[in-house]
Symmetry: C2
Subunit: 225 residues, 2 copies
């Protein structure tokens, strides 16, 4: 039997890189998809290329879609400042419908590849309050995928795989560490420099640094200052 074929949504950040490492360790034939959606942190895309190559993805594709033109998020609108203090509400770094768009693109490629699975690094624990990271959202997309595609109509719906859903950031880092993933290749910061140096102050940086601390591992992140 041939290896299951999987499309992996790969941002170049810590979470999705761990997902790719886990999928490779489980013997998946991996097709990595990165999406440039107008986010400020283009450094992530460069990181995604490095990681796809380092982890032996079969192919790496980059799709572009201009969500920035719709505005509404600090990640795509330079006029909205990335917050550097925690908030209990849905934060301004939330990009409207982002995961729906990413999954739709993954679905398109998966259908053409006749892939069996789509893997993504959503997480319900440290998810910063984004609505489209919750299990109910993933289940609804799984349902949609079965109805949206030729493959689904023919009775073979794609499976959505979310290996990080119930892990803490420390748990994710421990998983990647056990798979020898080199986290210095990854970029999580919402406002990284073009060279991939992290600010150390945004939500993403704080969650990441705290994760390494709790996992009891050295933090290999390259910081700007």
């Amino acid at each position: 039997m041939s290896a299951p074929r999987a499309v992996i949504l790969l941002s170049g950040g810590l979470d999705s890189s761990t997902v790719l490492a886990a999928a490779r360790a489980e013997g998946r034939e991996c097709y990595a998809l990165s999406v440039h959606y107008g986010q400020r942190h283009a450094a992530e895309i460069a990181a995604a290329r490095r990681i796809a190559a380092a982890l032996g993805a079969r192919e790496h594709r980059l799709a572009s879609v201009d969500l920035g033109q719709f505005g509404g998020s600090a990640l795509t609108d330079p006029a909205i400042k990335v917050p550097e203090t925690p908030s209990s509400e849905i934060p301004v770094t939330y990009v409207p419908a982002r995961n729906t768009v990413l999954l739709a693109l993954a679905l398109a490629w998966a259908e053409v590849l006749a892939a069996d699975e789509i893997h993504l690094g959503v997480n319900a624990v440290d998810y910063s309050g984004y609505p489209d990271c919750r299990p109910a959202f993933i289940e609804a997309f799984q349902q949609l995928a079965g109805l949206a595609t030729k493959r689904g109509v023919e009775g073979q719906p794609l499976r959505l795989v979310t290996p990080l859903m119930q892990l803490s950031k420390a748990g994710i880092i421990a998983l990647g560490h056990s798979l020898q993933l080199d986290y210095s290749l990854t970029v999580s910061c919402y406002q990284a420099t073009d060279e991939g140096l992290a600010c150390g102050r945004c939500d993403a940086c704080r969650l990441r640094a705290e994760g390494f601390r709790q996992a009891g591992l050295a933090d290999p992140t390259r910081y700007a200052a």
Copy 2:
């Protein structure tokens, strides 16, 4: 009370133009969204601009996403010939996950606009066998939209409006005609020339011509030969 605000997916074809005309007639404040997804028929985009202006859309946006890079469809892959004879199977003009991608983009803009509705011209009668034109697909996306967005989390999910779902092509044309829609502005052909002239032979042309015949109306389509 202010007018309901709607994002209208507008391809520039007969169906979506009728949807915009109907939404305007019902007093919606309309935001038209066209998506260039690598389709051959770029003439449709020019048509969409004309129609959005003629029908008084509040704004018209063009989003681009390269579904063509994934291949798998005669509409985006020049190596696959557009069929000129009917088929009982899902045809090669089917673009993998197209409606999922279009709706995801509409959802992103709708959320930023705080729109109440997304309107789209899918049709279960003359739908050419595309899986993502069926009522069950639309219901699944409606469900997803409620879970995917900030607005949904706050208890105000977007409504998906599909006024053409149960109409025949003749019924759609009769509806547009009653609303004084000038169908000579629209382009349906899968392989129209850059000037918007139709081939008269592809599935889309055949369904359209038959629709005018059955509606008992003159066909204003501009044909290439």
